[in-house]
Every structure is written in C-alpha cells, then in structure tokens.
Symmetry: C2
Subunit: 587 residues, 2 copies
C-alpha cells in the first residue's frame, strides 16, 4: 500500500508501516548486539543493557554525533523531531549504519491537545501505540520513585507530629523537624491534571497525614527524570537520587531523600529504567528512546546513556535538543556535553518557511486555530527578514566550534522561490544548507540533508564550552545572555541575588552548570518579540537549585510544571480495536 501523508493520518501511516516492521531481534542482529544485551519487551520494543554493551565495546571508536536544533519556533513548532527521524531515514537510505536517540513523550500531551511526538508523515517512529503509551514503563518508574519520596516525607511529618522524640527513637528515627511551609517537591502524575496543581492534603484525623498545602506536577517535570537524562551510569544515578532536596527544616537546612532513608528504594524502582529503549523508524532504522525531561527547568534532551550506547553501535547517532538553538542547543552544548564528555560532529538547525515568515513580520500562528492566510501566499520580503533569526541561531552553533547544517524543513505548500531565497542567503554566509522533504517522502526526501550532514561530519571541529564551571555564576549567566541570546545585560531581582549569594558560598553548588528557564518563542525573555530582538536586558527573577540533577536554574521565564487539559483533548478520539488490540486515534 502506498503511504501518502497528504491523504492519510499519521496513525494510519504508522499502522500500515507496522505490518512490515522488523522485530527487535532483527534490529539487534543488524547492530551486532549479543543476545544477553538485548532485553525484549514484546517483539517490537526492547531495552538495551547499556552496561554490557559499553563494557564489550569500550575500545570501539565512537560514531559521528549529530544534534538537531532549530531556529526560534512559532508556537506550532519547527518539526525538529520529524526532521531528526527524517535524517535517520535519509542516512539509512544512504546505507549508513545510523541510530536515532530521542526523548520519550509524556502521557499528558499525548492525551491532551498536542498529541504524541513520534514525528509525522513519512518520518515517524513505530510502534506508535507503544511509543505513545508509556513504552517500557520508564515514566511510570519515575512516577513511583518520585511519589515514594513524597510518601516518605508526608508519613515522616505525620509521625513526627504524632509521636515524641522517645517514641521516634524506638523506631530508630531522629526528629527532622521539616517545615511544612518549605516543602519544595510536589507529587507527580503523567497527565495534564490542573485540578491537582494546588491542593490541601492530610485532612481527616491523626492517622490521615499532616495537613498542609501541596501540589502535583506532570511526571516528566520530576527531578528523577532530569537525573535519568544526565546520569552516566547506575552509580552516578544512585548518588544523584540521594541528593534531591525535598524540603527544608525549620532552621533552613535542606532535607534530602537520603535524610528520609528513601533514596535506595527510589533507585530500586528505577533499575530497569536506566537502560535505553529501542524501537524503529517506519523505514526500519533503530531509534533509542530514553528520558524526556522538561526543557525549561531541566535540559530537555534524551539521555546521556542512550547517546553512549548509540555511539558505540552506529556510525551516525542523531539526537535532538528540545526548544530552539538559544535555549535547547545551549544546554546540549554546556550541560549535556560537559557531563557526558561527548562532543558533536555536526549540528542541524531546522527552519521552516512558516517560522521565517513569522520572524519577518507575518502574524503569529496559534495552536488549535486556523493558520493565518498570509502563510499560504509567497512573501520573499518576510522570509528574507526572518533569516536574521536563522543566522543568529547558526552563529550560536558556530560559537561552540561545531559545524552547522541548516535544514529547510519543506512543507509541500512552500513556494520554490522562498526556499531558493533561504538557500541563497545561507550560501552567501558560507553555511551548508539542505532542503528536506522527509515528511512527504521519508528517507528518499532527506537525502540532500543526509549528504550535507555526512559532509559536515568530515570537517574538523573545535568544540569549546561557553563558560567554565569555576567562573562566578553571574559571569556565566551574563555570557549566556549576551553571547547566546543577544541581550545587552542581565538584571537580577532580589530573590535571585539572594540565591546567587547562597550558591557562591557552597563549594558543590557553585560549580554546577547553568540550566536557564526562558521562553523558546523568542531569543529574548519576551515571547512576543520575534526576529533578533535588540536593546534588552535579561530579567532573572529567581534561581532554583537542583542538587540531584546538579543544575543551577536561573528563572527568566514562566514555569508551569503542570499543564492543563483542554476542553477538546485527544483522549476523546482514542479507542482500542478489541479484536486486534490495536490502538486507534493516536496522533
């Protein structure tokens, strides 16, 4: 059956492709995995025993490492995931040994308005239902590990409230004296449950908990998820889990999971989750799916462990940074690469004609609303003006010493002249650019991109960090603001000043990398400003501290750790074919 994305829904294409997909045993054979290293979860999903693979192949040189980022997107997105998958398919078509390494989607958006994150058109990963509905259960494991910590916290507060020191001592417990007004952590659930954003818990009698305000976050915003993305191995993971600060005591001292004697049990729930998952593109290339941390308070990238595994198994590994180059790639560059010790060989900057027009002056398109008619009419002026944002984003990549490749993610309604204009501008600036039609044509449509990427990977790189960890925190924030975002400087509000003082006084904290919270819809901290905003200062309101994941998080944008479910969510159209067990209606 011919797969035509202009006529078929994404899930229909996936269902058709799944009829001929490879088993994980075939994928493993193609990758040269030993039987012990493959942990199948059914016939089409597997985990890979990262430790065994890395031990066996420790002397094999790494493959080429490619990160996919984007220009400042419109609220509709630039198709980074779709491009990443298309590039994997394109390299596959060129007979290269390639693996994708992508994030696992949250159940919240999948059941809500946004839908799954399996790509689209002929650039998709399958099996779609397994990918969209929890895969091998890593997010559930995170949910359990995280909530167990909250159980330990609230049970402890209750018992300390009900018992005197002597009774506590009989059970080997010393009063922690947790401050109910300074519980930092919420509970987690992996849906958009706005009703649980602000709650009061512990009502009822003495045995029904300790009454206090509390909150739920979406599971992927858990610090446990952030840690899964950055841990180098199980040992590193276990140590970081124990450092998570859940609350403060009444004297202001942090209370960690280790203080609550729950860190070991949390880790026990995560033992399987530390192994990356493997599925495939609809053209049969393997894709590792592992971790999916929030892109604002965390790094928004798939795991370091998956990248380690991929680079040993394949000649090309394609991964992706959440959000745009200023915030997503900056974190890849200065956090993920620093923690992993890996350096990319090439960075793809994805741009759509739609987003370029938006940066050039077209009205901003909004999700769930019809796309303004301006986007269906050729407008070279807007496109040219919009390329300023593209050039800025390419320059961010150049600052890291890595070779950029611009990918024009073509939509079949784009005009030829618009696409040619972007190519011309890139050429004038000496930037490799490729047009890619993976959505419409799969790997066949991504050959130009694949070739450009292979060329770029053959160029020498000169990777360097934007800052060193021993630089003062303010200097580092300023470097990001000026050199990456293009701000004139940084304004710190009092809360932020106080926190920075605290951080600078702590030997461990002061050496942690910076993980910025800022909108991805503008290079500036104001989502309404398109193009390349000039003459502005970055306002840092607060600085959060994540000891477990090991980030200093300056807050220069909104943080929402629990999205809301809309009035017309995806779950209304999802059902199961009870004869075949196939899920219908995912998108």
């Amino acid at each position: 059956m011919k797969l035509d994305p202009t006529k078929m829904k994404d899930w229909e294409i996936a269902a058709e492709a799944e009829k001929h997909m490879k088993t994980v045993y075939q994928l493993a054979e193609e990758l040269g995995l030993e039987q012990e290293e493959l942990l199948p979860y059914g016939h089409y999903v597997a985990k890979i025993d990262y430790k065994k693979v890395l031990e066996r192949l420790k002397d094999r040189p790494n493959g080429k490492y490619i990160d996919v980022t984007a220009i400042t997107p419109t609220p509709l997105g630039e198709g980074k995931s779709t491009t990443s998958i298309g590039l994997v398919e394109g390299l596959g078509k060129r007979k290269q040994n390639v693996i994708g390494a992508l994030r696992q989607p949250s159940g919240g958006p999948t059941m809500n308005i946004k839908g799954s994150a399996a790509g689209g058109g002929l650039a998709q990963i399958i099996p779609l239902d397994k990918f969209s509905l929890g895969l091998t259960g890593d997010i559930n494991a995170i949910m359990n590990a995280h909530n167990l910590a909250m159980v330990a916290l609230t049970a402890r507060m209750q018992h300390e409230f009900n018992y005197d020191d002597e009774t506590l001592a009989k059970r080997g417990l010393k009063r922690l004296d947790i401050d109910p007004k300074r519980v930092e952590m919420g509970w987690v659930i992996d849906f958009c449950a706005q009703a649980l954003r602000h709650i009061v818990i512990g009502l009822g009698g003495k045995k029904d908990g300790y009454p206090m305000e509390s909150k739920f976050w979406i599971a992927v915003a858990s610090e446990v998820m952030a840690i899964l993305a950055v841990a180098r191995d199980l040992k590193d993971f276990r140590e970081r889990i124990g450092k998570i600060v859940i609350a403060f005591d009444r004297s202001g001292k942090p209370i960690t999971t280790e203080d609550l004697e729950v860190a070991g049990a949390m880790c026990a729930w995560m033992v399987d989750a530390i192994n990356p998952n493997m599925i495939q593109t609809i053209e049969g290339q393997p894709v590792l799916i592992h971790a999916g941390p929030f892109a604002n308070i965390a790094i928004g990238q798939s795991s370091i462990i998956a990248d380690y595994v991929g680079l040993k198994l394949a000649d090309y590994v394609v991964t992706e940074s959440g959000f745009a180059a200023d915030i997503g790639y900056e974190k890849f560059w200065n956090i993920k690469c620093r923690l992993s010790g890996l350096t990319p060989d090439c960075v793809v900057v994805v741009a759509t004609i739609r987003a370029l027009k938006c940066h050039g002056g077209a009205p901003i398109p909004l999700p769930g609303r019809p796309i303004p008619k301006e986007y269906f009419e050729e407008n070279l002026e807007w496109v040219e003006k919009g390329c300023e944002n593209l050039l800025h984003c390419v320059n961010i990549v150049k600052k890291s010493g890595v070779t950029p490749v611009v990918c024009i993610n073509a939509f079949y309604t784009d005009s030829k002249a618009e696409i040619e204009l972007v190519k011309k501008i890139c050429e004038e600036h000496g930037i490799r650019a490729a047009v890619s039609e993976h959505w419409l044509k799969g790997g066949e449509g991504a050959l130009e991109l694949a070739d450009a990427v292979m060329d770029a990977c053959n160029e020498p790189t000169n990777f360097r960090f934007l800052y060193e960890l021993d630089e003062p925190v303010k200097d580092r924030i300023e470097k990001i603001a000026k050199e990456v975002y293009g701000a004139d400087g940084v304004i710190y509000l009092p809360d932020a000043e106080a926190k920075i003082k605290l951080i600078e006084a702590d030997e461990e904290l002061r050496r942690m990398p910076i993980c910025m919270v800022k909108t991805h819809l503008s290079l500036s901290d104001n989502p309404a400003l398109k193009g390349v905003p000039k003459g502005w200062q970055l306002r840092v309101r607060d600085v959060l501290i994540y000891r477990g994941s090991g980030f200093i998080v300056p807050v220069a944008g909104d943080i929402s750790l629990m999205p809301g479910t809309g009035s017309d969510p995806a779950y209304r159209r999802i059902d199961v074919d009870v004869e075949t067990g196939k899920v219908k209606g995912l998108f």
Copy 2:
C-alpha cells in the same frame, strides 16, 4: 550453595536461586508455547499472548484446577501464598506439568511493613525484585487508566464551570452537570499514602480546576484492577471499563467513563496489561502473575484470563483466593467461577497450628509485635478447640460440591503431637489432610500435599453455586450469611435498604453477583470473635454498586482503600547494588 531458610533471609534465598533460574525461553519451550505467544520482558519475565494461546489450544482439554484458601487467619496470615507456591513445587517434584496462577503484589505493602508476597523460605517466586517492583507494569497501567478518568472528570467540571452551553457546544460537549458532592471515584497511587486520603483539589484560579473535596486510593483498589481480574477477554474488558460510574449528576443520574468519552483511551493504556505475566518458583516451575484486586471491595483473586491460559498449558493449575474460606473462597466459588465458567477440581484449606491455637483461646498475635510465648509451648486443648474453625471452613468448600484437602502448613517449631492431633481430627471427619514443610524444604517438603491434591483431583466433583443470579438480593445475602458465615440472620441499616431497593429496580444491577465486604479475621463481622461464633446477626450498613466490575457490594466491615505507611517501613532498608543492579533488602 545450600539454601537454609532458618539461617537466610528470604531475599538472600531468592538472590541465590536467581543465579540458576531458567530463562523465559526455556520456560516457554517446556510449556510448548509458540514463539509468537511469548512476549519476553527481559530474559526472566514474560507476558503470554492469551488470545493466541487460547485460539491455538481451544480444543485441548483443561488441566486440573486447584484453589488454595485458608481457615480464619490470625493477623499474621496463614501462609496461603507460600503454600500455593510450595504446592506448585511439590507437584513439580512429582514430575507433573504444573503452573501457578497468583496475584501481583501492590507497591504499597511492599514498601511499607508487610513486605512483598513472593512466598517465603524455600517456597518463593523469582525474580523477587521484578515481582515486587511492578513486574511488567500492569499496576502502573491501571494507575494511568484510572487517573486519566479522573483527569477527564475534573477537567470537564472545570470547563463546564467556566463556559456557557454555547461555548461547550462548539467543542461538541453537552453539559453533564456533575454533582461535586457526589464524585464517587478517587485518584490512585500504588503506595500507602495516608496524606492523600482526604484532600481538597482545584484551588487557585479559573484555570486551576474546580475546587472540591477529593481522595486518593491505593491503585490495587481501583475498579480497573477489579475488572482486570474478572474480564474474560479484551472485548469484555473494554465493555466493563465503559460502565464504571465515576460520579452522579445533580439529578442523581450516574456519570460513566463512557459519558466522559475517556473509556476508549483508558482501555488503550491497558492493552498490554491484559496479557498474564510469567515468572517461576525457585525450583523452576512457571507461575502466572496477573491482577491483584483488593479482597474486600473486589474479589481478591488473580485473573480469569491467567486461569484460562494456565489450564490450557498445564495439567495442574494452582491458584489462590485472598482472605479466608468464608470470604475468599466464597467469592472464588460464586463470582470468579460463575464469570469464568470454570470449576475447581480440588480446594486446599491451609491451617497453621498457630491459628488453630488462636481459635482455641490463645492470645491474638499482632503484626510488628513479638509473638506471645504461648505459641511456643505445646497446647493440644487449644489446637483441638481451634479445629472447629477448620471444620467450618472445610464445610464451606463441601457446600460448593468440591473435594477439600486440608494442608497443615507446618512451622519447624510446631510440636509433633499438635500436628498429629489435627490429622486425627480430619481423619475422623473423613477429610483428606496433609502436612507440608514447603517453607523449610521446598517441593520436597510438599510431596504429601501434592499427593493428596492429585488424589483429590481424581474424585468426581459436583460443583454448584450457593445462589442463582435471579434470586432476590436479600435472599442471596442471607444465604451467604447463614450458610457460609454461620450467622443467624441479616440486619440491614437504612442506607443498605435504600440501595437494595434501587438495585432490585434495575434489570442489569439486580442480576450482578454479591461481593461481600467483611473482616477475614473472624467468621463473623466482628474481628475479635475467634473459632466459630454463634448467635449473631450480620449487619449490612450499606451496599456499594460497581457497574464496571459488575458487583453488588454489601458492606459489613470496614473499608480502607488507602492504607497508611508506618513509622518503620520497608523502604528504609531497600537499596540497589550499583555494580550488579540487584535490589537488596526486599522481603
């Protein structure tokens, strides 16, 4: 290494046995499973595609079907799970083709005081860590399916509060007018989180939900779990899911998951969970683990689907009913067998000398406290008196027309004379009895039991239900109270009377089986009364209705759907060996 349960902890025995355990591929080969039917989850856990197996083997006659129940237990339990596992091992030692079919434990008790439910001593199932920590994720799937319904409910209430009918209509929604004071369902989490028992949600602004009281239950108390246990196939499962009543509207009409358009998506999260899981005993016999519904508001038995599969694959299937014969076996008999169409060939009634002494007059032992010294001294009088409870429980089994076998679950401190006395009393009443030392000796210690069970299975049975579904609800409750519990009659409080009237007026409800809520610590509704209480009436306070699982639930005992975490819970001692990934400290 010699495994000695008097010197080793359960988890140490499990760890030792796991070094030599079979892979699921070996187990599958021994069972004659086709490759397509085995869905491995790693090398030592698998799911079995129930549909493929049942289709291929539809003409094969079923194996023998054995249910394990117990006398009225002490609060420490009678070792039913351990005996079930021991019997599987014993039948295995006799070279029989045997499968166990047991419940999956909840994370709550495992992390709290009770510990896991993997048996003990040399009668255990492995891998212990996978079994104890979520296995293939079925409970997580239940948690997600269930909580998605709560998201749908609360989001809908919020949108109906914020928008007028016209705005709702634009999104294809008609006002459901849900009564915030009549939301029946809580959220679920699979831990003992007493702090979430009574909560207030939806605080904050217009976009932060609808403010109301709410609650959390432990995940295994979810009606989705109850449905997983009784569903005959995916079609049946899907239909039942859609009938779950979440709330009532202001006119008193029930609001179902189907009304909220979320039933299909809930089912989508459960597609894999419907397949039973397979692990093994420490002696290498396969054990199916599937479903683990609460024994009070639900049936407290493993799934019908697992029994179907087991009976096609093996000559003997050993399953277990939660709680004692009066409440656990009664539900097996009149609910599970009715819904499955299966009938048991033999029922094992487990008794410990400890419980018999307790029924005879010894002080009641309590969990977490030292066992009273009386239990370490021979007392034939107490044992003899206690046998009244045993004989009552055996008679319950006889009423169902099935052959009972008494299993004296021997502890190595029991006196020989005590054990002989119980055997003699059974003999005098014409009851097959066997002493089993599976805890100390594994299958070798369970040969007498295995032989007795094989003998019993060769006897003809005359299975009959206690009641028919077209009998009036009150008549049915009375039959259970009088003929099973030994009550003189039933007293209905006003709430119960009102509900029964409502049920009798509804064509679908009035034909649903009865699923009683009553303490398992006494044959009566008063947990303090041991032996065989006489001259009492069963007090039915209320009658709950579970349309999805399809039960009428008369409430004659306490219902706690969210246990509490104690001050010295198991998680304090659980950790991970970061070199091997093995979990330490589970019990």
